[in-house]
Amino acid sequence: MTSAALFPIEPLGDAALLVRLGDAIDEVTHVRVRQAHSRLRHLPPALGGCEVVPAFTTVAVHFDLARGTYAALAAAVAAALADLEHEPLPASRTITVPVRYGGGHGPDLEYVAAQAGLTPEEVVRRHAAGAYLVHMIGFAPGFPYLGGLDPRLACPRRETPRTHVPAGSVGIGGSQTGIYPFDSPGGWQLIGRTDLVLFAADREPASLLAAGDRVRFREVSR
């Protein structure tokens, strides 16, 4: 089987292409996505590629339509991914996120507990016991899509999103948990808040978290 068959490539509009590294959100696909992201950043500039964007199962390469063509870029991408499994990745980092759970910091903690049939204390214990993987950063600058939520804590989003969710809020939306980097509207159930700054443009790197990082939550007193 050729690499093109292993990793299908398709246009994303007229100035980008999309590579599929897998079909499901799992760790094997995740590692491939990170490897592809790493490797595709080093395509020859003459192809017009300008940025590589990894997601759960796909990687996009955006290009300058005045300088590159889809066909040439797709061929180069397929060739670059031929021995993808040899692409080295940096060691995974583990970042601990201190969270004040419940009360004004997590106004939906009791609701999540009621939904799960657990006490609020048990929700906090389970949430803080999890080892989470940052699958991707998206939705907003620095916003991590985290995998690994205890299925028991899964909880539907609010029917009416809040118009104002403070930055640092830790929430649960469906089977995912995440942290809001900015004050924004939001529909997730809020169970706590951290003082960590997820995104600061004047910091290097600007985003606290990167795809591939492991996240642990630690309960701190209010």
């Binding site: 509009g13 980008a16 999309l18 990894p54 997601a55 996009a60 950063i137 939705f139 443009a201």
Partner: protein, 332 residues
């Protein structure tokens, strides 16, 4: 150094350039000018680099006072611009004297005008761009739209701007113009050329035919239309069967189909990824047309091939290159 003093900010006036490329992996939207062609044209007319920061003016423009003699030009929407109360046409270079007032009136055609000043707007560059992205307070003036009292510093003039300023007496509007460039349109019916999106084939046959060919249906841009995207109202679009999708990268011009059947066209400030089916992808050459369409405008899609999309884009690039050459010839 010259500067621009904001007396009244207008409806939504922001500093924009060609956007913040290279940070989407960290969730940072590209942003930048909605009508990149008009921004580049306005910059060319004052001798700037095409990527310099300028003002994006939305429908109801600001009132600005110039501090120092300033070479400026306007491209994109026709928003009844005046300089010291005299009408100022788009597509002309003007050498405005210190103290002159640039103001705007009734929107005549299009939605977004670009005002370029020689030297560019020299607000700090954030992550490689001066483009304003208010949701994360990046770029522009403190990451927000202009407010009364703001003072926008202008950068150093490049060689081209110096030559243009020397060739054009102070207080004069250039007699030459780059010639016909696509007029901005408003409230009209626009046809946007598009490629099939990744999930086009998952639509019902009726929905597919509403998006292309002889039976293409008209949509209307709703009031939910901003720099992030335009929600369209029209024939409800349906998938033949539900799709289980995970978030994937999206592009400028991606037409998403959220539950409910009313598509959304993603624009400059789109998020980096999206989880809805992608039914169409508007072509790059027609993004300026979309950028100039205001709520209420009617829109219909027409399918083209990838090769055609590129040919149309290159034609526009050649047009800009021709204009750059014409400006150089004025200076020769």
């Amino acid at each position: 150094m010259s500067a621009v003093h904001v007396l009244r900010p207008g409806l939504l006036t922001t500093v924009q350039d060609l956007g913040r490329t290279g940070h989407q992996y960290a969730g940072v939207p590209v942003g930048g000018a909605m009508d990149r062609y008009a921004l580049r044209l306005a910059n060319l007319l004052v001798g700037n680099a095409e990527s310099d920061a300028a003002l994006e003016v939305t429908l109801l423009g600001p009132t600005l006072e110039l501090q120092g003699d300033v070479l400026l030009s306007i491209a994109g929407a026709h928003l009844s611009a005046t300089l010291d109360e005299r009408p100022l046409p788009n597509g002309r270079t003007v050498h405005a004297p210190a103290g002159a007032r640039l103001a705007f009136g009734r929107p005549v055609a299009g939605c977004r005008a670009y005002v370029a000043f020689a030297g560019g707007i020299a607000v700090p560059s954030v992550l490689g761009s001066r483009a304003t992205y208010p949701r994360a307070r990046l770029g522009g003036v403190d990451g927000r739209a202009l407010a009364a009292g703001d003072l926008l510093p202008l950068g150093e003039l490049g060689a081209r701007s110096h030559r243009l300023a020397a060739a054009l007496p102070r207080g004069r509007v250039a007699s030459w113009t780059p010639g016909p460039h696509e007029p901005a349109r408003t409230g009209a019916a626009i046809e946007v050329r598009a490629l099939r999106g990744a999930h086009f084939d998952a639509l019902t046959p009726e929905s597919r035919s509403a998006l292309r060919g002889e039976a293409a249906q008209w949509f209307t841009i709703t009031g939910e239309a901003d720099r992030m995207g335009y929600r369209l109202d029209g024939p409800g679009l349906e998938l033949a069967a539900p799709l289980e999708l995970v978030s994937e990268p999206v592009a400028f011009g991606t037409v998403q189909l959220p539950p409910g059947g009313q598509p959304i066209v993603l624009m400059a400030d789109r998020q980096t990824t999206g989880g809805y089916p992608r039914v169409l992808e508007a072509i790059s050459a027609d993004l300026p047309l979309l950028a100039q369409a205001a709520p209420g405008a009617r829109i219909r899609f027409r399918e083209v091939s990838l090769a055609e999309a590129r040919r149309l884009y290159l034609a526009r690039e050649h047009e800009l290159a021709r204009i750059a050459l014409a400006i150089d010839l004025q200076l020769a």
